[in-house]
């Protein structure tokens, strides 16, 4: 699999994602926000951090970069697009995923490990898991409170676009949403950080299942 990690000014989990992918022997390129052609990649990762300081709104400024134009093209082409934390915020700001991430219900940044419940085990990101499986994954955000309008929320649920929910609602998200896909299922965003949990030495490798699913999905697609 060939993957790209896109670094915006202010991204700070780009190397974490890079190393995580490398640990699965993925061929990874680190690109900046000027990248204009992403057609060569099976999967494109938008990492966490504080793009443009998260000033104005998190993700609001980053969405106007050339790289995000290229991400839109890639999304339409059916390539996998994954936004983690700030990446999720950028994807919603860019309109590639519905809704918005607001300030946590209890305002303030939280760094912790939380239990995620697998809601849809058939996605490109959970195909090695079963419905109801629980993964303990790190979170680190101040704006992870997922909101959208009633109609969109119903659509998300009806189309099984909700992939993970929080077991305990840590940030006030509607329907405890932790991660969603677009309708086509190839664009995915989540607040938790699976890339921080891929190595037993750090005390948690429960994020590996996420990457294994994604690799499996790419593999299946290549075979098809």
């Amino acid at each position: 699999m060939k993957a790209a990690v896109i670094t915006f000014p202010g991204s700070n989990c780009d190397m974490d994602m890079y190393h995580a992918l490398e640990s699965f022997d993925v061929d990874v390129d680190l690109l900046d926000d000027q990248a204009s052609d992403l057609s060569a990649y099976d999967a494109i990762f938008i990492p966490g951090g504080f793009s443009y300081g998260d000033y104005l709104r998190s993700g609001a400024v980053a969405k106007f970069s050339p790289a995000m134009d290229a991400v839109k093209v890639a999304a339409e082409n059916g390539q996998l697009v994954v936004g983690i934390c700030n990446g999720f915020q950028i994807l919603t700001e860019a309109g590639l995923l519905p809704g918005q991430l607001l300030v946590n219900e209890q305002p303030g940044f939280i760094c912790d490990e939380v239990n995620l419940v697998v809601e849809n085990p058939d996605s490109n990101f959970t195909n090695t898991m079963s419905k109801g499986d629980v993964l303990k994954v790190p979170i680190a955000h101040g704006e992870g409170n997922y909101v959208t309008d009633e109609v969109t929320l119903k659509e998300l649920e009806d189309n099984h676009q909700v992939i993970f929910r929080y077991q305990e609602n840590v940030n006030g998200s509607m329907n405890k949403i932790a991660g969603i896909t677009n309708k086509a299922g190839n664009v995915y965003g989540m607040m938790p950080h699976p890339e921080r949990a891929v190595d037993a030495l750090t005390g948690n490798d429960s994020g590996r299942a996420f990457f294994e699913s994604l690799l499996h999905a790419v593999d299946q697609k290549a075979r098809a």
């Binding site: 609001a60 519905p98 607001l102």
Partner: protein, 82 residues
């Protein structure tokens, strides 16, 4: 030169966590009669343009393109020549 004052607020349907926190802080400080608090954003943009109408169009465009998120926010603005 013109000065645009732009007031961004959450749509009524959106729960504003910061407003909630401020309200309860005011109550702990024993302020009486506080019914509701919301926190929004206040931008001041100084800009030049051909005339007031043109600048107004520009302001609306930049607010809608960048300054607000249509999912949750709305805005009003004032424009004056300075």
């Amino acid at each position: 030169m013109y000065l645009a004052k732009i007031y961004v607020t959450y749509k009524p349907s959106i729960l504003d966590p910061q407003g909630v926190v401020i309200k309860s802080a005011l109550e702990r400080l024993e302020y009486q009669g506080i019914e509701d608090v919301s926190q929004g954003k206040y931008f001041q943009v100084k800009l030049t343009g051909a005339d007031k109408a043109a600048v107004a169009k520009e302001v609306e465009s930049l607010v809608e393109e960048l300054l607000i998120n249509h999912n949750t926010e709305t805005y009003t603005y004032d424009l004056e020549e300075i």
